[in-house]
């Protein structure tokens, strides 16, 4: 309706690379010289989209407030932040899981002597819900990085963190004790933009679906 490009917030890092590859398959890649630039907004070569590279946990904010029309972000972030946005599509990449982990041999789900477990996490909301649903009382410690060292330094008994290959855990002598939730990248869409630019969003969603099906069935 407005003719302006759709703005898509992307999480800086590996997930952004995968998302851009997917958009490339729709014919909406970005020019190589733009890819390396530090511009705030990267236009797609065909003018259909503008990509906003932002920190992954901030993607929901940009989309919920309507600064971006859509975004790509892990389900882990959506579970934690609970933004008021649409989640029309599972993009399949960025697969990992949220898990409870601790140094090998740590008791779970109860500590000896009825000690209340301390749990360090970047995902305090998700962790709180997870333990509450199991009727377990824990003390949550919200930290923003290097969660895997928290048990080694005595900050927490357990951690709730993202596990991709499990290598970081293994390097720190940690093992997975419980599964919280699996996660993959999702397409999220601003509610107002979805209605005001309905045809554009419907076209994007069905094209992404097709591209994903093509990839799944082994097409290049």
């Amino acid at each position: 309706m407005t003719g302006a490009p759709l703005r898509v917030a992307l999480p800086k890092g590996r997930m952004m690379e995968e998302a851009l590859r997917l958009f490339e398959r729709l014919g909406s890649g970005i020019a190589p010289e733009d890819r390396e630039s530090r511009r705030l907004i990267l236009p797609s070569a065909d003018g259909r989209f503008e990509f906003l590279p932002v920190k992954n946990v901030d993607v929901p904010v940009y989309v919920e407030t309507g600064v971006a029309d859509a975004g790509v972000v892990g389900l882990d972030v959506l579970l934690e932040r609970g933004p008021d946005v649409l989640h029309p599509l599972d993009l399949g990449f960025g697969g990992c899981r949220l898990a409870v982990a601790a140094p090998e041999g740590t008791p779970y789900p109860h500590l000896p002597g009825g000690v209340t477990p301390r749990v360090a996490s970047k995902y305090p909301e998700t962790a709180r819900r997870f333990f509450a649903e199991r009727g377990l009382q824990v003390d949550l410690v919200h930290i923003s990085g290097s969660v895997e060292i928290a048990p080694l330094l005595g900050l927490a008994h357990w951690i709730v963190d993202l596990v991709q290959t499990g290598r970081t855990l293994a390097e720190n002598g940690l093992v997975v004790l419980d599964e919280v939730a699996p996660s993959t990248a999702r397409l999220i869409v601003n509610r107002a933009s979805h209605k005001l630019r309905l045809e554009e969003h419907q076209r994007l969603i069905s094209q992404l679906e097709e591209a994903l099906e093509g990839a799944a069935s082994g097409a290049p």
């Binding site: 407030t65 309507g66 933004p83 008021d84 649409l86 029309p88 599509l89 869409v189 209605k195 309905l198």
Partner: protein
């Protein structure tokens, strides 16, 4: 500590300075002018009510956001969180003998608890109208028409009304436990295909229900979507929903129809909606600036069994959107 505190207002509240007030008053004046032209009379409900007024009809979403305090007699009182709940109480009690249909309008503040950090205020101006005592699609169209006419009068051109009918979805959730129903409701509300497909499979839904659930995110568009939805309707209630939306569509003018998108997955509204319901979106605002719908069972809570339909618009959001020359 105390000395810095008195220089600020609490998060989510705000001072309105002369410019802010001018824009809001201009909108309210235009609103009451239009409402009067349509035969709607202004009422002013109290700023606080017994909390049940909001909790009984508004559903969990509203109950969880009330700003409450204890009254002198120990009863729990809440700041007005929703005009429709208060007006329904008024219409069913003080105005129970007034001739029907009853046409009421209002403008003022609502107060709700909101999380910090996502740009939501805890006090916000709203304006709106309620049409009580008329069950037909003509009444639905009357309030839709007022919302459209009002936005146009404010000089707002690029807007969409997202219109659905909760009766299309209700049969799909019938017979589920509260947890499963809530999970599916959330998946419908988020247009989450993956979660809908998973939900349908895990719940062992009959094939027709599963198909309708998975198709729901796609059942959005202009009038033609109602034809598509009809083949997916599961039972008499869902068919009534489609028939009602078609009747509404037939009553709209071509100009009004340009602003309406039918969305069978529209379930955003408060707990008391029983039929058609809608949200209003304006270009430039990242969130809905208005909502409305039919609440045929709400007045029964106060002993007066009357159909009703109404809508509310967010005055603050409109004030920020007003074309500059018009303010």
């Amino acid at each position: 500590m105390q000395s810095t505190r008195i220089f600020h207002v609490p998060p989510g509240s705000q001072d309105l300075l002369p410019d802010d007030v001018r824009r809001r008053r201009r909108i309210q004046r235009a609103w009451f002018e239009l409402a009067e032209e349509h035969g709607y009379e202004e009422v002013i409900p109290p700023t606080f009510e017994y909390e049940e007024v909001f909790t009984r009809g508004g559903g969990e979403g509203l109950s969880a956001r009330l700003i409450r305090f204890l009254d002198r007699d120990g009863r729990v009182v809440a700041l007005r969180a929703d005009f429709t709940s208060s007006l329904a109480r008024m219409a069913a009690t003080r105005l129970v003998d007034a001739p029907l249909p009853l046409r009421l309008s209002y403008a003022g503040k609502v107060y709700r608890q909101e999380a910090e950090g996502v740009g939501r205020r805890r006090e916000a101006f709203q304006l709106g109208a309620e049409l009580i005592g008329h069950p037909g699609p003509e009444a639905d169209v009357e309030v839709l028409r007022m919302a459209v006419a009002f936005l146009r009068r404010l000089g707002i051109r690029d807007f969409q009304i997202n219109l659905g009918d909760i009766r299309f979805i209700r049969p799909l959730l019938a017979g589920l436990g509260p947890r499963e129903a809530e999970r599916l409701r959330e998946a419908i509300d988020r247009k989450d295909r993956a979660a809908l497909a998973d939900g349908a499979r895990e719940l062992g839904a009959p094939a027709a229900v599963a198909r309708a659930l998975v198709e729901l995110p796609e059942l959005i568009g202009r009038g033609e979507v109602l034809l598509r939805a009809r083949s997916l309707a599961s039972g008499a209630e869902a068919e009534e929903a489609i028939e009602r939306l078609r009747a509404v569509d037939a009553l709209l003018t071509p100009e009004e129809r340009e602003h309406v998108v039918y969305d069978l997955g529209e379930i955003r509204g408060l707990g008391y909606y029983t039929g058609v319901q809608f949200e209003v979106f304006v270009a430039g605002a990242g969130r809905a600036v208005g909502f409305g719908g039919r609440y045929d069972d709400l007045l029964r809570l106060y002993g007066a069994d009357r159909p009703a339909v109404g809508f509310a618009l967010e005055t603050d959001a409109l004030a920020e959107l007003l074309p500059a020359e018009a303010s």
